[in-house]
Symmetry: C2
Subunit: 158 residues, 2 copies
C-alpha cells in the first residue's frame, strides 16, 4: 500500500536544470516540504512550534532517484513512519508523478524533536505528538517498501 | 586533509525556513551546485555535454546535517572522489561555513555517466574524463573522512 499522500506540487521553472529535467536537489526540496506537511499532520504545526519552541531538525537522509521528471508534471509525495522513539522519528517519503505508475524517488529522513532558544537541545515528544506519529500510517499500511538507505559503494554487493 | 573546495555560495533569503536557519533541502541544493563545479573540473562541462549528449545523473545520495547555518553566512563546499568505475563515480561533498571550524554537513552522491537522447543509457567514461576523475583529489588527499552513508535506524548500533 503506498505511503499516505500529503503534499502535491507543480514543478517550478527554476527547478529544471541544464539536463532539461527536475534537478536532483529539488526532489529533496519537495520532500522537505512534504516533511513540513507531515509535521502539521502529527501536530508539530506553527502554533505548537511557537508555544513550545520545539520543532524537527533533520539529522540524516538517504535518497534514491528513480525516474526523470519533466516540467509540467505534478509531484505527489507520501510519507510513511518507519520508526519512532522518545525524541526521533524515521520517515520514508515516496515521490510519484501524478498519473504515472511507480516511484520517481524515495527519501528516508531521520528527524530529531529539538527545542530552540535558551534551553536548546533534543526534547522528548509530548504523548499526544508521539501518539499521532505512531498512528500516522493507518492500520493497513504494512512495511515501508523502500528502496532503503544503505552504505553507498561501487563494490558489488553479496 | 579537507576535500578540495570548488564551490562557494552565499545563503539566499528563500533558503531560510520557519526555523530561522538554512532549510535542510538547501544544503543539498548547494551540494548539487558543487557537483556541477565538480563536473566542470573533470571535463564534463557544457561543451562536452553538448557534443557527446553525456552528463551525470544522480542515482543515490546520503546526507548528514551537522550544524545550523544562518543567513549572512557563506558556504564553502569541497568534493572528494571516493571511488570510480567505468560508468559511475562516488563523490563525497563537505559543506563548511567560511571562517568556522568543522563541518556543517556532508553528502555522498553516487553519479552515473549517462547519454541522453535517442541512444539514452549508461555510458562508459572516455579515458580523459576517467583519468581526470582519478586524479581529482590530488596526491595528499587520503581517505574521505565522512561521516559515511549507512542504513538509517533507530535501533542502537553494535
Amino acid at each position: 500500500m503506498p505511503a499516505r499522500t500529503l503534499y502535491r506540487t507543480a514543478i517550478q521553472p527554476d527547478w529544471i536544470d541544464y539536463n532539461q529535467h527536475l534537478n536532483d536537489a529539488y526532489y529533496i526540496v519537495a520532500m522537505s516540504r512534504a516533511c513540513d506537511a507531515f509535521m502539521v499532520a502529527v501536530g508539530i504545526d506553527e502554533a505548537y512550534r511557537s508555544s513550545t519552541q520545539c520543532t524537527l531538525y533533520s539529522l540524516e537522509a538517504h535518497a534514491h532517484w528513480l525516474r526523470e521528471v519533466k516540467f509540467g508534471e505534478m509531484l505527489e509525495i507520501g510519507a510513511h513512519v518507519i520508526a519512532v522513539d522518545s525524541k526521533r522519528v524515521h520517515v520514508g517519503f515516496e515521490v510519484r508523478v501524478a498519473g504515472k505508475d511507480g516511484l520517481a524517488a524515495t527519501g528516508e529522513f531521520m528527524l530529531l524533536h529539538y527545542r530552540q532558544g535558551e534551553q536548546a537541545g533534543a526534547a522528548t515528544f509530548p504523548a499526544t505528538i508521539r501518539s499521532a506519529i505512531e498512528q500516522f500510517n493507518g492500520p493497513d499500511a504494512g512495511e515501508w517498501a523502500g528502496p532503503v538507505s544503505r552504505a553507498l559503494t561501487l563494490t558489488k554487493r553479496a
